[in-house]
Amino acid sequence: MTAANELSAKIRDFVLAKFPLAKSRKIGDSDDLLDSGIVDSLGILDVVAMLESELHVTIHDDDLVPENFRSIQHIAEFAAKRKSA
């Protein structure tokens, strides 16, 4: 498994475990998490905490925008970008 795939897999596992609606609606990597109400403002805090503590991604104040968190794929791409920066 490539590093990028591994990152995606970890984020996917976390989202599916933490947000039951994601699991019951069988959310795919590119499906929307925000407008659908699956991840709310408090849920984002959980995602951020996981990225920082488990994946060691440093998140800046300006990173907390919908574009970085819209889907599992968006989160993974954002995390990969931050890790390589």
Partner: protein, 522 residues
């Protein structure tokens, strides 16, 4: 004379028809437009069979149709039942069955999730769908919300009076499933007038409504704005900075929130401190005490803004507020009674407590609700005759026993001490421990389960569950929480689980909640 909820809208529409009433994203509606569509909705509802006093549910995200529905149902003579959009179909089913819902206004997307539960609502005559109308066509029990909006007023004479039931707001207590608090038109209008008075709300106000309308303080935002002829701005947000951007873009003057919102806004990533907000005249907090650290940040950041700490319970709509000039002297106080309201602190014998003595907060005034829908016993417990009235007056007045323990200082300011029962308050929501415990039990893996609220910086209280395994089998706490997540909305899912060999019990064999709290040093 305005005496029904929708009269407030109609009066503002007559006074200032072109004034901006409602904003959501790119949608901007004047009072004339809102009033016109509301009349259409009322006509549609009546033609479809809504009669005076019928309950009509609104299960929608914050949106223009949500607001039009509230006033449309009122104008049709019905009772509006706003359902929190975060609830799951099972909880929607409970509400719909409990209040005997005649009709439900929802969206195409939400209807998909409801497909299974709708047939289990025997009282439901029809559904009104917002958005795509294709599926509404040709289906006898489905109507198009947009078509309703375009209908001409029917000119039916109004027969409701201000004492009639206007709304039912569902909220939790310490046990069982959510109960419906009944508000009359008079309650809602008194709440708007009173809050407008002490916050000084006028037609120039631009209120950002972030709290759901299923929550009394949220509904009050919309009502005060429309009563005073101001502007109500709606928002769906995930990131705190989206709130900040809307404050700036819409030149918001008033914002009401719960502690969770302020905790999110106080974090640097919200960007609240990056630019001044000269238009923001006031913010109000309700739904739990604002953490002192958060309050300090907001006071430093929002230098031009009055910070008003408030307290209310759905059963009495709104109760107390702390005037901003008292914030320095009494930052932990809930304040004093709102206008035209008296707050009593009573001991177990129904007598007034002395300053510093702990007693139950009892509310008297025009916002005392009509009680709980279909639950006379619960109503009799919460709403009782005023024990301080002279006997000659008899039982002419009902006061609201809050279940909140408070004390009053020498100057009459109130301080929250705790709950009389086990009810939990998290993120502004009232949560019944038994509802969470039932969800835990339904996993089939437990012999015992008890939940309590523990302090949480962001949520106010977070839920901690204590569980005992069935047949000594190890409990997979992750799986248990995942199970709860399937059954309950996120705010009701415990944050922590501790496995115990036995739950502490009282001598009568019930779970000893105080003992569990002592374990947590509470």
């Amino acid at each position: 004379m305005d005496f029904l909820t929708h009269h407030m809208l109609q009066s503002s529409a007559r006074r200032t028809p072109e004034k901006e009433a409602l904003v959501h994203g790119d949608e901007r509606l004047s009072y004339k437009e809102v009033a016109g569509r509301v009349s259409g909705v009322a006509t549609g509802l009546r033609r479809s069979g809504v009669n005076r006093g019928d309950r009509v549910g609104i299960y929608l995200d914050a949106s223009v149709p949500q607001v039009l529905s509230i006033f449309g149902i009122s104008e049709a003579g019905g009772v509006f039942v706003p359902v929190n959009a975060a609830l799951f179909p099972e909880q929607v089913l409970h509400i719909a069955r409990d209040c005997g819902m005649t009709a439900l206004i929802t969206s195409e997307k939400k209807l998909e999730g409801l497909a299974e539960v709708l047939p289990q609502i025997p009282s439901l005559k029809f559904v009104v769908l917002v958005g795509k109308t294709s599926s509404a066509k040709g289906h006898a029990s489905l109507h198009s919300f947009e078509e309703f909006c375009g209908l001409k007023p029917s000119g039916t004479e109004e027969d409701s009076i201000s004492k009639d039931l206007a709304a039912i707001l569902y909220t939790s207590g310490s046990t069982g499933k959510p109960k419906g608090v009944m508000l009359s038109h008079a309650n809602i209008m008194a709440g708007s007038s009173i809050v407008s008075k002490y916050l000084g709300i006028t037609a120039s106000e631009r209120i950002l409504a972030v709290l759901p309308f299923s929550f009394d303080a949220g509904l009050n935002q919309l009502m005060t704005a429309f009563q005073q002829g101001g502007t109500c701005v709606l928002i769906n947000f995930v990131f705190a900075r989206e709130v900040v951007q809307t404050l700036i873009k819409e030149r918001i003057t008033g914002l009401a929130g719960v502690p969770t919102l302020w905790s999110l806004l106080a974090q640097p990533n919200s960007t609240l401190d990056r630019q001044p907000l000269p238009d923001l005249r006031y913010i109000t907090n309700t739904g739990g005490a604002m953490p002192q650290a958060v309050l300090a940040i907001l006071r430093k950041t929002l230098v031009h803004t009055k910070i008003v700490l408030m307290y209310g319970l759905t059963e009495a709509f709104r109760s107390t507020y702390l005037p901003p000039e008292e914030l320095d002297r009494r930052p932990t106080s809930m304040g004093k009674a709102i206008p035209d309201t008296e707050i009593l602190v009573l001991n177990e014998h129904g007598q007034r407590c002395k300053p510093g003595e702990i007693g139950e907060l009892v509310h008297r005034g025009p916002t005392v609700s009509l009680g709980y829908w279909g639950r006379p016993e619960d109503t009799a417990r919460a709403l009782r005759p005023n024990p301080l009235l002279p006997p000659e007056l008899g039982d002419c007045e009902k006061v609201c026993y809050s279940g909140d323990l408070v004390k009053m200082d020498e100057d009459g300011f109130l301080y929250f001490v705790g709950r009389r029962d086990t009810m939990i308050k998290s993120s502004g929501f009232r949560i019944s421990p038994t509802e969470v415990e039932e969800a835990l039990f339904s996993s089939g893996k437990l012999r015992g389960a008890a939940v309590i609220g523990i302090p949480d910086e962001v949520l106010g209280q977070a839920i901690k569950a204590f569980v005992t395994p069935k047949d000594g089998e190890p409990v997979d706490t992750e799986a248990l929480l995942a199970h709860c997540g399937q059954k309950l909305p996120r705010y009701m899912v415990p944050k922590l689980v501790e496995v115990l060999d036995e739950l502490p019990k009282t001598s009568s064999g019930k779970v000893d909640y105080p003992a569990l709290r002592r374990r947590e040093n509470l």
